[in-house]
């Protein structure tokens, strides 16, 4: 019942009748309270999952004490966005020893002590989400490493006191780690040296870690051969050399975010072109890459489905020709601010059969005729378009009707023409 604003405690009581309820999701239900949820749990014996994120104005003892009655079966508990204290976590840990997943993202009040008292009892935990629990330090990670040897997924975004020292213990003791989110943490190359020992790692998020350089990527490339998803958003110290290391060692990469890594050039993209399984590539504001770099990618990565080139000011029609020819699986493309003309755009929209979602705001070199021809060339295939608001009054009504009739939703935006980077 996610986000059902009109469900309240009385509504929940209607569910008491049966006793085979296994999973309850009342996240974002503003009118559900601890009492209502507690009474519902009271009537059930086999509940496996509870998601009460961003609901229950306060977590009250009536709810917490009921957890012990389902302590055997409860494996997933999400309490995102609620205020939770160490004593609450102690109660949860004491009651629910079989927890596999715990969600505490954006929870006020979560401290190292709280985490310690939780994990000392819950050694089966596989997923731990403490996004934005900004009080946590490396001590919390130490407690997790000691107690939760089976942990597979750690979400630690925006925990500023977590650094390379905390990751060392995890590396030695938790060999099953598959996913770790360290966005906006103080992560440096030494931390990546520890992470490199996680040979099962599949998903690694390092957004906003500006201290990471090519040296760190060499570590990752040396051992994380199963890596599938890598996020380096705004890791501005990364250069082409780092990409070379990744391309050599992490051949299974499917999703890669390099937005605002502005030192990257066409040479770096050439390295990436050996990643045959690449499906999603984000390259926002890479001002030094040109149509040549895009050509390498198009030729080498036939599985490409999503490509974001917003603010790649030096990418011109040559890039679009290559995509038109080689990227037959492309479904979503952003070329806002690119240096493309109506000719390249027309060829692109006419050639790619799977292309459904295009964002093209501020294409300053495309004339009105260019847009008219290009959009008609798409033959009703487009389902989502993002265009500059000013075009709405100059494109022909026939074209707009044609787009609407073929089920295309257009988002008109009024953004000023501003160059960054």
């Amino acid at each position: 019942m996610v986000g059902c604003l009109f469900i309240d405690d009385d509504g929940l009581q209607m569910l008491r009748a049966g006793n085979s309820l296994q999973s309850i999701d009342v996240s974002r239900c503003h009118h559900v309270t601890s009492q209502g949820l507690a009474l519902l749990i009271d009537s059930q014996r086999f509940i496996g999952k509870i998601n009460a994120g961003h609901s229950l104005h306060e977590i009250e003892t009536c709810f917490l004490s009921k957890l012990s009655t389902i302590g055997e079966t409860l494996t997933v508990l999400r309490l995102d966005g609620l205020e939770i204290f160490a004593s609450n976590l102690q109660t949860i840990g004491d009651s629910c020893k079989n927890l596999i997943e715990i969600g505490l993202s954006k929870c006020n009040g979560v401290t190292d002590d709280g985490i310690a008292s939780l994990v000392v009892n819950c050694s089966y935990l596989r997923t731990i989400d403490v996004t934005c629990c900004h009080l946590l330090t490396n001590d919390a990670l130490a407690a997790i490493a000691e107690n939760c040897r089976m942990v597979e997924c750690l979400r630690l975004e925006s925990c500023p006191f977590i650094n390379e020292k905390g990751l060392e213990r995890i590396g030695t003791l938790c060999s099953h780690l598959k996913e770790i989110d360290l966005t906006d943490c103080r992560i440096n190359d030494e931390a990546l040296q520890h992470l490199a020992s996680y040979s099962e790692l599949q998903i690694l998020k390092l957004g906003l870690c500006s201290s990471i350089s090519d040296k760190g990527l060499v570590y990752i490339g040396s051992n994380c051969g199963k890596l599938v998803d890598l996020d380096l958003y705004r890791c501005s110290a990364v250069t082409d050399e780092g990409l070379a290391a990744l391309a050599r060692g992490c051949k299974k990469i499917r999703m890669l975010n390099l937005c605002y890594c502005t030192q990257i050039t066409d040479a770096g993209l050439k390295h990436l072109s050996t990643l045959e399984e690449l499906t999603n590539l984000e390259l926002r504001c890479l001002v030094r890459i040109t149509g040549n770099g895009i050509t390498s990618i198009a030729v080498g990565c036939p599985s490409l489905i999503e490509l974001d080139l917003k603010r790649c000011y030096s990418v011109d029609d040559a890039g679009l020709w290559a995509l038109s020819r080689y990227s037959q699986n492309l479904r979503q493309l952003t070329i806002s601010y690119c240096q493309v003309t109506g000719l390249g755009l027309c060829h692109l929209l006419g050639s790619l059969r799977c292309l459904q979602d295009v964002k093209m705001v501020h294409l300053s070199w495309v004339s009105i005729e260019g847009f008219e021809m290009a959009l008609r060339a798409s033959c009703g295939r487009l389902k989502k378009l993002k265009l500059l608001g000013g075009l709405r009054s100059v494109l022909s009504p026939e074209l707009l009707q044609m787009l609407q009739a073929s089920g295309c939703r257009v988002r008109w935006v009024d953004k000023p023409l501003v160059y960054k980077g």
């Binding site: 503003h30 934005c132 966005t183």
Partner: protein, 106 residues
């Protein structure tokens, strides 16, 4: 795939009052008091506190804390004045801390 109906709204983490729109995001790379924050061009249903001078990472600014109008939770701040030319673009804009806002049903 679910169709988006209407604008993508962010709510106050505490009471789910609607406070800002995803389309008004200018930048996702700001630092709030405790972690990541976003710069928005507009805000709604908030109250603005008293102005004060603060030394931020990018220099001296006059800012005013912004509160959720319903529950008074501090959600971030508004830039009233910037003292360096390069920071002027922030004037009149709003910082919302990532930990304090939540996507409303999208």
């Amino acid at each position: 795939m679910a169709e988006l109906v209407g604008p993508r709204v962010y709510s106050c983490c505490h009471c789910r009052n609607h406070v800002c729109l995803h389309d008004d995001i200018i930048s996702k790379a700001f630092q709030g008091r405790n972690g990541r924050a976003f710069l928005f061009s507009h805000a709604m249903n908030i109250a603005v506190g008293p102005k004060e001078d603060r030394q931020l990472m990018t220099g001296l600014h006059t800012v005013a804390d912004i509160y959720c109008r319903d529950c008074r939770e501090v959600l971030g701040w508004k830039y009233e004045r910037a003292y360096e030319e390069s920071q002027r673009y922030k004037e009149g804009k709003f910082i919302f801390e990532k930990a304090k806002i939540v996507k409303e049903n999208w």
